[in-house]
């Protein structure tokens, strides 16, 4: 070590040598990792290609076919398009309603679950792991699983999709909410506790005002995601735009103008709510340090 602080040329050589060897080894490992990764990706692609009904290279030249047919048909009947958009507008409203209600209900349940599973705030500290596992489980269930089972019991329509999305939303938001609440300032809570406030009052008056902007911002992000989810669930029979899209597609050529109108509505609303929510979220988290 004393050698290193007053290095002679020999010492410098040795250090340089060791350093270069280390760099070479690091590069080798990095290269090997990349190679393994590339091999895995390629073999994964080959397997996926193998198990697909149509091959990748054959299909690639046909990717544009379907959009081209739809677009050309829609262009031919472009005069009808506004009427069709008006016709499917109620379906869009239903899709948005499903997303909004499930976000609302999911967020409300998530707030309670998140507070119950945050260390320092929990009503029953011993139950914290239980509520956490519960949220993990709710988060892990894909919406389609619940939706399909509920469609069997409740029949098609918006309610199965709403329940399914709300269930997943509860788990997903609960985790994020709990992370936010963990960083909340404990002083207001302690102050309220000293006045004899009960748990609900401490949470309502002490914690929620602090975390409300972050909760809202996460909620908006979820709403964005849920619009997409609600459209997808419609495709398996849960009403809304997705359902109309499947019907329009099942009709095949001749009804492609309807499919085009639905594509436009879906694309437009997703982009619109994306922009809106990102504006709102930016203004909500403005001035926050993280």
């Amino acid at each position: 070590m004393a050698d290193a602080s007053h290095p002679g040329t020999q010492g410098v050589d040795r250090i340089q040598h060791a350093y270069l060897a280390q760099v070479a080894r690091r590069r080798l490992y990095g290269g090997l990792t990349l190679l393994v990764f590339a091999l895995l990706m390629i073999s994964g692609f080959v397997v996926a290609d193998d198990r697909n009904a149509g091959g990748f290279w054959d299909g690639l030249s046909h990717v544009g076919d379907y959009p081209a047919v739809v677009l050309s048909e829609a262009w031919e009947k472009r005069a009808d398009l506004p009427a069709l958009i008006a016709k499917f507008f109620p379906a869009l409203v239903e899709t948005l309603n499903i997303a909004a209600v499930s976000t609302l209900l999911g967020a409300m349940t998530a707030i309670v679950l998140a507070l119950l599973s945050t260390r320092g705030l929990a009503r029953w500290p011993r139950m914290v792991p239980l509520f956490r596992r519960l949220m993990d489980l709710m988060r892990a269930v894909p919406e389609i699983v619940i939706a399909l089972v509920l469609i069997f019991v409740l029949g098609g329509g918006p309610v199965p999709a709403m329940i399914a999305i709300a269930f997943h939303t509860t788990g997903a938001l609960g985790k994020l909410f709990s992370e936010v609440a963990e960083n909340a300032d404990q002083k207001p809570v302690e102050g309220l506790a000293s006045t004899g406030a009960n748990w609900w009052q401490r949470m309502w008056l002490g914690v929620l005002p602090q975390v409300a902007p972050n909760f809202l911002s996460y909620g908006l992000l979820r709403f964005e995601i849920n619009i997409r989810a609600s459209a997808i669930l419609g495709f398996v029979g849960a009403g809304g735009l997705g359902y109309e899209l499947r019907n329009a597609m099942a009709w095949g050529p001749g009804r492609f103008d309807e499919a085009a109108a639905i594509f436009i509505l879906l694309f437009g609303s997703i982009v619109f709510f994306d922009q809106l929510s990102s504006r709102l979220r930016n203004s909500l988290t403005e001035g926050q340090t993280h």
Partner: protein, 437 residues
């Protein structure tokens, strides 16, 4: 301070309180009003009538129990035993359940003091606790029973069909056959079907006991019979899970690989040309906005159903998302590190490699790993639409409306898969970038 000042302050304070109070009541009222509107829009009242609660009961009981059918053919008089009445679950000719005593008169013991006797001449006798002896026989084309009029609520009887629902099981008599169902808890034949020599053997027997099937080693034979179990098709299910995982992995990493170079074109610092930047950003917005649903629909037309279509749909959507996230991260890259690398005489590519990429890696890895988990879920959903992976098996099983135990099995597998991915991605993120970020 004058009195006017004070009153001004007071009115201000009053107004603020009033606004607060309004907010405190108006917001919940608004939410409630909206929920009430949607309750009407979603037709909750009609839903309660349309709901098939009997379906829910079947679903709930079928998902954790199974029934064994004992069927007597009225023409031949032969008696068959089959799990769930499926051919794949049929007992081989020389086997019968141990609660059945075959013979001239076949006695089916349903438990709970209920015994069914299938007598010659297509006659049936049942000892029913609390009722006594039930009798039925075929008279020409009519079914004659000794049920009183009106029939008890556990029975429904007509000339052509008699159905009894007892606590111990169900009995259905039609002109052509008599069926007795006995219910058991659990998933039937999950390990081996009845025709496998390993059925009913304990794990210890298979591992350590004598060779059961003389033609094969115990372990290999048992594995083969389990893996290709015709009822549960474990091999096919494993493939389906693998396909779903493959869709998620290929889609996520492929999207990251494509988005990384493109995101440089969308970041102000690396793409001085406004037009390029604008075009790139709109491209990202477009592929993101089109959404996985539409991509799936479009791609399925070109590539057909399968995991590749799902992977490409995920890839396209996430290229947009990753492009947006990465380019935002690139805007916030610390320029000192790049300047430092540039000061050593590095070329532009080297500057990116040693000045930018190391700063980008934490964002990149954490986002990719995060999406990997959520895409496992998406892959299930996309699989259900395009027809691939566990999503396809799940929809097929639900559409049969009878194989609820398979549905329960697939749901368990999906949830486990997602939870494992969640856990792995969380661990890797913590490992690679430290807990602080």
């Amino acid at each position: 301070m004058t009195a006017t000042d004070l009153s001004l302050l007071q009115t201000q304070a009053d107004r603020r309180f009033a606004r607060k109070r309004l907010m405190a009541f108006a917001l919940p009222a608004l939410v409630l009003a909206y929920l009430a509107y949607t309750a009407v829009a979603f037709d909750l009242a009609g839903l309660a009538q349309r709901a098939r609660w009997d379906n829910a009961v079947t679903l709930a009981s079928d998902s954790w129990s199974y029934k064994v059918h004992v069927t007597r053919d009225h023409r031949s008089g032969g008696i068959d035993y089959a799990v769930e009445g499926e051919r794949k679950g049929q007992y081989p000719d020389d086997m019968h359940p141990d609660w059945v005593a075959p013979g001239e008169t076949t006695v089916v013991d349903l438990g709970r003091d209920t015994a069914v006797r299938l007598l010659p001449g297509n006659r049936t006798e049942i000892d029913i606790p609390g009722f006594g002896l039930f009798e039925a026989h075929l008279d020409g084309r009519r079914i004659v029973t000794n049920l009183p009029q009106p029939a008890p609520d556990w029975a429904s009887a007509s000339n052509t069909r008699v159905a009894l629902t007892l606590p111990a099981g169900r009995i259905a008599i039609t002109r052509t056959k008599t069926e007795v169902f006995r219910y058991f808890a659990g998933w039937e034949l999950f390990w081996f079907t009845l025709d496998s020599p390993y059925h009913g053997r304990s794990l210890l027997d298979i591992l350590l006991g004598d060779r059961i099937d003389p033609a094969r080693g115990n372990l290999g034979g048992a594995w083969h019979d389990f893996w290709y179990n015709p009822m549960w098709q474990h091999a096919a299910v494993a493939w389906a899970i693998g396909e779903t995982l493959l869709m998620a992995v290929l889609g996520t990493f492929g999207a990251a690989l494509i988005a990384l170079p493109l995101s440089f074109l969308a970041a102000k610092r690396f793409a001085p040309l406004m037009a390029v930047r604008f075009a790139m950003r709109r491209l990202f917005d477009f592929v993101r906005g089109v959404d996985a649903l539409i991509w799936t629909v479009v791609l399925a037309r070109a590539f057909g159903p399968g995991p590749l279509t799902g992977a490409l749909a995920i890839l396209l959507t996430d290229t947009g998302t990753f492009g947006k996230i990465f380019s935002e991260a690139l805007e916030n890259v610390d320029s000192r590190q790049i300047d430092g690398v540039a000061a050593t005489g590095a070329k532009p590519l080297q500057r990116i490699r040693f000045g930018v990429i190391p700063q980008l890696v934490p964002v990149l890895l954490s986002q990719v790993l995060y999406f990997l988990e959520s895409n496992t879920r998406s892959a299930t959903i996309i699989g259900a639409i395009t027809g691939g992976g566990i999503g396809l098996l799940l929809t097929q099983a639900i559409q049969t409306q009878t194989n609820w135990e398979e549905v329960a099995y697939y749901i368990t597998l999906v949830v486990l898969l997602v939870m494992v991915m969640d856990w792995v991605s969380g661990r890797l993120r913590a490992r690679l970038i430290g807990r602080s970020t």
